[in-house]
């Protein structure tokens, strides 16, 4: 079964992404144990939840607010994980039919697998890229999370190693590629201000949830959106910028130049996955 060059490229990208995210799983394991969860709870998070941003959000809220902040921790993780539903909708036609296959695909539908898949142009390479990336990340992420959870107890204060700053930097890495238009930048600034101002006032976890309302308001009324003319110019600029990105980000924006309203929406989803891509963990 000879594979085309495009299919081999998709496999290479997937494995590379899996190795890189595995390295980062150690810090999640250590932070989770430091937040008060035990080894098996950490293992369940990485294997069942399996979406790095939500996992870091959950243990972050628990670390500052303890078990009392449980509901807020769950809500933060779920809301942040809602972007995976967009990826699922996008991957759905690529994955094809079959109940078991679709359940398995859903399990590994994350930033990375969606990014590598949507970066490919051939349908077979898209499908292969999705499965290889999802499985490589699943294996690497879970193995290294377990290692981090095991050595976490011996590490002592994780702040000593800057792991708290590493978590903040990881969130920034997910956010960075989404800040290419006025509207998301306005939302990011507003959300950061709301969360910071509320931190001394309301219980742990709630500042982050309150900040989510900024997105709902701005999105519902479409504030800070630029005229279509500017948006189209920005879209092609994005596509050019995207091509300098990592391998997985490359082809994601290719069909965007048409610039209609639908494809703009579509593009922003592809861009979110494409750029956030290798960076979820």
């Amino acid at each position: 079964m000879a594979r085309s060059e495009a299919e081999r490229a998709a496999v290479r990208a997937g494995i590379a992404v899996g190795v890189a995210t595995g390295a980062y799983g150690i810090s999640f394991g250590a932070l989770s144990v430091a937040a008060g969860l035990d080894f098996w709870q950490t293992v369940v998070l990485s294997s069942v939840m399996f979406t790095g941003g939500s996992q870091f959000a959950l243990v972050g809220v628990l670390a500052s607010g303890g078990l009392a902040a449980g509901p807020a921790a769950i809500a933060s993780a779920v809301l942040l994980g809602s972007r995976n539903a967009l990826y699922s909708i996008r991957m759905s036609p690529i994955i094809g039919s079959g109940l078991l296959r679709r359940i398995a695909a859903a399990w590994i539908t994350i930033d990375e697998s969606t990014a590598v898949a949507t970066a490919q142009t051939e349908p077979r390479a898209q499908r292969l890229g999705f499965w290889v990336t999802g499985l490589a990340v699943f294996v690497g992420w879970n193995a290294m999370t377990a290692v981090g959870a095991l050595i976490g107890d011996q590490l002592g204060d994780v702040r000593q190693y800057g792991l708290d700053a590493a978590a903040a930097a990881a969130f920034l890495g997910l956010l960075w590629p989404r800040l290419r238009e006025v509207q998301p930048i306005a939302v990011a600034v507003g959300a950061a201000v709301v969360a910071t101002v509320l931190t001394p006032v309301v219980p742990s976890g709630l500042p982050v949830l309150a900040a989510a309302l900024v997105a709902v308001l701005v999105g519902a009324f479409n504030w800070f959106s630029r005229p279509a003319e500017t948006l189209r110019a920005a879209a092609s600029a994005d596509a050019r910028a995207g091509n300098r990105d990592t391998a997985a980000g490359t082809a994601a924006e290719a069909p965007d130049s048409s610039g209609s309203a639908e494809s703009d929406t579509d593009r922003s989803i592809a861009t979110g996955a494409g750029h956030a891509g290798e960076e979820d963990r």
Partner: protein, 101 residues
């Protein structure tokens, strides 16, 4: 609520969200408002988490080694340095400041 309740509820909910996406028709993405809100929601949550993770200390706001670490991370992301390198660099900056300053 025990730690297991929190872990299981959140894990199952996050897994269910992924499944829901495969159950709805792809045409949903063609409606601009829901897709826009969903994308902005990710932006708002990430930004709020960065703020709390960088400035929060229990229920107070503090400026410490995390702030310069995050600034270094922002600079490196702007220079298109790979994700994993930036995360390690941010940890190293915070660790070094705490060890030597």
């Amino acid at each position: 609520m025990t730690a297991w309740h929190i872990v299981l509820l959140a894990s199952i909910a996050c897994a269910a969200i992924k499944l829901i996406g495969y159950a709805v028709p792809p045409a949903v993405l063609e409606k601009p408002a829901p897709a826009r809100i969903a994308n902005l929601l990710t932006v708002a949550l990430l930004s709020a988490l960065i703020a709390v993770q960088t400035l929060g200390q229990a229920a107070t706001i503090v400026l410490d080694a995390r702030v310069p670490a995050l600034l270094v991370a922002a600079l490196l992301f702007a220079l298109r340095v790979p994700f994993i390198v930036v995360v390690i660099a941010a940890a190293a900056v915070a660790a070094a400041i705490r060890a030597f300053v």
